[in-house]
């Protein structure tokens, strides 16, 4: 802990996130690598997550926009499978659609989840200490402490955490803290039939992901790219990162998220300046006006 003094832990790379949070001798940082190139959109992850974590039903809505009726992550959706239909080719694949193959068509499917950021804004702004960093480097809400202040919700740059209606508290993916503590993989990864969702030590996953991107590029899938893998990015790298086949915003992900607390020193400084200006300014006003009855 002594090593924390004088270090900026609000942004930038942070290799030992669990140790910095006060866990002595933590296990390796665990995370997800979601390889969307093999996702088949079956939504087994959504179902497994709901079942294992007893996440309540949150409305059966027909969106009419695609095969996605889940719409997005929230208090009662901790895995969300996005579905995008595009008129774009997928590498050298032949779709067989249309007459004589005139149509280039591809379906993009991607299972989104809490990113378990290295610099997690939700955790940083939580006033009760309900959100905490586990020994695995993941970010979890302690529901017996959360008082539903809702600050974590607009703080999250990915729109992950939300308030559960009728409950009042904030909920999100725990990376199955109960399962991984017992040496099991999270429910979504366990249920994924194509291993699109891979769970493991983050270092290993990053290596595997880099190999996979190279493999896809060799196959001609040039738009394959990793998202959230880089410890130098705006949130210090995600604990749950992705291989995408198009720009992040196509999947509903922010293209270059930055943890809001990176600018917190500047915010406090400006607030301090404003407060000092107010105190000084009003003191000057009273000084100029002088005592009452002095003719002004």
């Amino acid at each position: 802990m002594g090593g924390l003094v004088g270090r900026n832990l609000l942004a930038g790379p942070e290799p030992d996130v669990a140790a910095d949070a006060g866990h002595p001798d933590p296990p390796p940082r665990m995370g997800f690598f979601t390889d969307t190139s093999v996702c088949i959109g079956c939504k087994a992850c959504e179902v497994a997550c709901k079942e294992w974590n007893a996440v309540p039903e949150d409305g059966l809505e027909f969106t009419g926009m695609s095969y996605d009726n889940t719409q997005g992550l929230g208090a009662d959706t901790w895995r969300h499978v996005a579905f995008i239909e595009q008129n774009k080719p997928m590498g050298h694949a032949e779709t067989g659609a249309g007459d004589g193959g005139a149509t280039d068509l591809r379906w993009l499917m991607a299972s989104d989840v809490c990113k378990h950021c290295t610099h997690a804004a939700c955790l940083d702004v939580c006033p009760t200490g309900s959100l905490f960093r586990t020994e695995f480097g993941t970010v979890v809400v302690q529901e017996d402490i959360c008082n539903g202040c809702g600050y974590c919700i607009p703080a999250c740059p990915y729109g992950v955490i939300d308030q559960r209606k009728g409950d009042g508290r904030a909920w999100k993916c725990t990376l199955c803290y109960d399962r991984i503590g017992a040496g099991m993989e999270p429910a979504c990864a366990k249920a994924c039939p194509t291993d699109s969702i891979q769970y493991g030590p983050l270092d290993e996953l990053r290596e595997r992901a880099a190999l996979r991107v190279d493999q896809l590029h060799d196959l001609g899938v040039d738009d394959a790219r990793l998202y959230g893998h880089d410890p130098d990015d705006g949130v210090g790298g995600d604990g749950a990162f992705f291989l995408l086949l198009d720009e992040p915003e196509v999947y509903g992900l922010p293209p270059d998220p930055v943890v809001t607390t990176r600018d917190l020193p500047s915010m406090w400084r400006h607030a301090g300046m404003a407060a000092a200006a107010m105190l000084g300014g009003l003191a000057a006003v009273f000084a100029v006006h002088g005592r009452a009855g002095g003719g002004r």
Partner: protein, 340 residues
Amino acid sequence: MSTSGVGKDGMHGERPGREAQVGKGPQRRGRKRGRHRGEKAMVPDAEFTSYYGRPILNPPVWKASDVAAYFFLGGLAGAGSVLAAGAHRTGRPVAARALKISSLAALGGSTAALIHDLGRPERFVNMLRVMKPTSPMSMGSWLLVAYGPAVGAAAVLDVTGLFPRLGGAATAGAAALGPSVCTYTAVLAADTAVPAWHEAHRELPFVFAASAVAAASGMALVTAPPRETGPMRTAAALGAALELAAAKILEHRAGLAAEPYKKGKAGRFVRAGEILSVAGAAGGVLLGGRGRAAAALSGAALLAGSACTRFGVFHAGTQSARDPRYTVIPQRERLRAAAG
């Protein structure tokens, strides 16, 4: 950890290799469509795309009637304490007492709004479970713990006339903490991913401080006789002018994130706030020294203007969180600038 596969007769241990050949097909069977499939798939960089227009952020669940009202009441209380101390020190007892009472009432109202906004109000004491400089809400809670007793003692001791020296100390203490009570709420809003708030993090504390001064000056104009409100009339003019100036700088510097301040409900509130603040300040300076009625009217306009500004800021934030453009486009521009 990868204890994969269960079955009566095997399939244990390791997983299959990651060999899915996505995108692999017959290498261009001489289709003469002019499409170069192996070509780098460039995504047009200027276009804005989103996932069916859905927001990227989860918008704040805070209610405007609680949190925007809290911004206003906190500012009224904090700036009121500074003005009260000034009035107290310079022999303006009626104004001092009125402002001490209004600060206590505003603080009570703002605390009630904060607790009411919680998803689990009965757990509000959990706010004092930790002290976290990275959480403006935590720091604000502790600030209110210190400020509350001071502002309470200042008001009660003034009204009862008991322990005048202690009352003076409480008045000074409340005045010392008051400015922070006004400005920390700007950090509270800015320390989020909400574009209209975060991108305004340099200017928002000044907008809030100036708006708070205008509101508290307005309260003095409403409650105190004109012979005591000279400094408050000057303060109202300065507050309104600074608020406008800070808002203009914000519009200039925040880029696309400033747009919500001019649109929809937020735009209407911000505009109303500007008009009311300017009218109230002008009325206060020109007429506030002559008649009680004109002063009260000007003061009411200043109070309403400050409230409108806070509601405008609040709604600008929620509007910017609901539209993915405000999240995606500035980030795209940042990436493009970094790429050179």
